[in-house]
């Protein structure tokens, strides 16, 4: 009797063990959900499920998809065992999809999850994770716009002295006295480059003065579109100053798009024509020193300005005045004394105060062990 009971117990234990071993690979994935992917254009659905236990025997997952009453179809490759999310990016708008996550064991045994509820992909109009960035942009833009319109009321805006810009009149005057030309180099940027646009705005101011003094202004361009814009701009400046006859279109010309051929061309002009004043304003790369040293060697007064901060040391070493970074963007406001433009500079300073405050606060909070600001910013990134 005892033997029989022992035999039954052993058999039962064996049966339970064997069934456990075999069922390990067959546990279906639990809590499978399929939802429209957040913050996308509606071209994907995200499927999530619970992570399987370590001893589950699952070696991977296969995603199956069904459109309306159609057949279940396999999508994508076999996913590794640790996966708990799959993004189906091959969907069509307006179609409802249901999903099944299939657990696959090493012995290729399978267990299917329950089918999810039908879901359609839909695009979002606003990326919620970009909210902090959006708020920052609104705040900063509002600060600038507020200051611009505030400046219209005639409130005087203080702008610190920028020696490079103070020297513009002196430099133009010098060229006029010496009876030599002014060479204006816009750098390598295209018309979409903000530094090039900033440089063009300075050129517009310089052109107004050269129009008055009737000093020849030579502008070799690196970009044909920039050249056309500059021609139009300088022509208007001469026209508005009442000297349309002094404008010579041939003085604004295209040299080449190649960086060093351009440098060689500009150097050639410098050496041959010996301009009294050289403006190097805009976006520059390795040719900056080649240009600035040649200008230095001919004894021209040189006013440089760039937002290419790695070229600043070269300009500082070889030029008389250098506009550093943002000073290039402030130049138009500084030279024209236009209240609205000056107002934008104050707005810029408000932005700086805001950033400085955020940096100081961030450092203090980090040092105090409060890390949510950093986490928030990392999320934005």
């Amino acid at each position: 009797m005892l033997k029989t009971i022992q035999w039954i117990v052993v058999t039962l234990v064996l049966c339970i063990s064997v069934s456990t071993v075999f069922s390990q690979g067959l546990t279906p994935p639990l809590n499978v959900t399929a939802v429209d992917t957040a913050n996308d254009d509606g071209s994907s659905i995200t499927i999530k499920w619970d992570a399987a236990a370590e001893d589950s025997g699952i070696s991977g997952y296969q995603i199956l998809r069904r459109i309306a009453d159609g057949e279940l179809e396999t999508i994508g490759d076999l996913l590794p065992v640790g996966t708990t999310t799959y993004v189906d990016s091959a969907i069509e708008g307006g179609t409802a999809y249901t999903y099944v996550v299939r657990a696959v064991s090493a012995t290729e045994a399978t267990a299917d999850s329950e089918q999810t509820a039908p879901v359609e992909g839909s695009g979002e109009w606003f990326h919620t994770e970009k909210t902090p960035l959006f708020i920052a942009m609104l705040l900063f833009s509002a600060a600038i716009v507020w200051n611009i319109y505030n400046a219209r009321s005639g409130k005087e805006v203080f702008v610190r002295r920028i020696p490079g810009l103070e020297a513009v009149d002196e430099a133009i005057g010098r060229a006029t006295e010496m009876g030599r030309s002014i060479l204006y180099v816009l750098g390598l940027g295209g018309v979409s480059g903000v530094a090039t646009v900033a440089s063009m705005t300075i050129l517009a101011q310089v052109a107004r003065r050269t129009a008055d003094y009737e000093t020849p202004l030579r502008v070799p361009c690196n970009d044909p579109i920039v050249m056309n814009v500059v021609r139009e701009m300088v022509k208007t400046a001469y026209l508005e100053e009442g000297h349309p006859d002094a404008y010579n279109e041939e003085n604004i010309f295209f040299l080449t798009e190649d960086q060093f051929a351009y440098a060689a061309g500009v150097d050639g002009i410098m050496v041959r024509e010996k301009p009294a004043t050289v403006f190097l304003q805009g976006s520059f790369a390795a040719e900056s020193l080649i240009l600035a040293e040649t200008g230095n060697s001919i004894g021209a007064i040189q006013i440089a300005g760039t937002d290419s901060e790695h070229q600043l040391p070269f300009f500082i070493a070889a030029c008389d005045y250098t506009l550093i970074g943002e000073e290039l963007y402030a130049a138009s406001a500084y030279l024209s004394k236009e209240p609205m433009l000056l107002g934008s500079l104050r707005g810029q300073d408000w932005g700086k105060v805001l950033i400085f405050g955020a940096i100081a606060l961030g450092v203090i909070l980090e040092l105090s062990g409060i890390t949510w600001i950093t986490t928030l910013l990392q999320r934005v990134n």
Partner: protein, 271 residues
Amino acid sequence: MLSKLMNLDRRLIFIFVALAVIIPTLLPLNLPINVSEPTQKIYDYIDALPAGSTIMIAFDYGPSSLPELNPMAKAVLRHCFDKGVRVIGMTLYPFAPTLADTLITEVAEEAGAVNGEDYVFLGFRPGGEQVMLRMGISIGSVFEKDYTNTPLTEISMMKDITNYGQIDLILDLASGSTTDLWITYVNVKYNQQIAAGVTGVIVSNMYPYLQTNQLVGLMPGYLGASEYEKLIGVPEKGTQGINNASPVHVLILGLVIIGNIVFFIQRRREG
């Protein structure tokens, strides 16, 4: 005498520089090279890629920077072909296609890599950042054909590559500001991993991106090329270049020191 030294004729300095380059070119030096962390990071990243992965190399430089950047390209290509990592070459620089194609073909022949299977060179398209952005949507919409005019649809390795989603790393070899653009438009918008190899003159510009991990790694000029050559165990023109550049660096350092000594003496005399 002092004022003569202070206003040393620059042509004399030019002669010194020429000698400092020519002499070590004729009598090669063999200085020990230590691998810096930014270069090591690129090597490690590519080394960890499984065979069949894809990297894109942007040859954004012209003939002027060829001596500095070609050795880098060569070393990375060798490493990729050796590891079975597929390479897509392209450029945003109009003067680069010929030099890039010549280089890839040369390294591929040496490594036994097959065009269309192990590598493809797409050539040049104008538009800079627009090209970068458009490739994020579809590479085929920017480059319908490769450099040899084969439609992308007929190139086997491009069959499973639509956009940046299937590319594991973009290495920008740059002499200008293209790396900033790759980071601004491709890393930020498409979350693509970017590494860079740049000319010595713009190295310091890249450090902010290294700190924010927007650059996987960085090869700085000749130094970077020589370091990568050391890592793959094939010292070539990068190593030769950095050895030749060493005396010029010492010369400039010497000139600066002399200039300052003279400046101090003169200032003391003038009271």
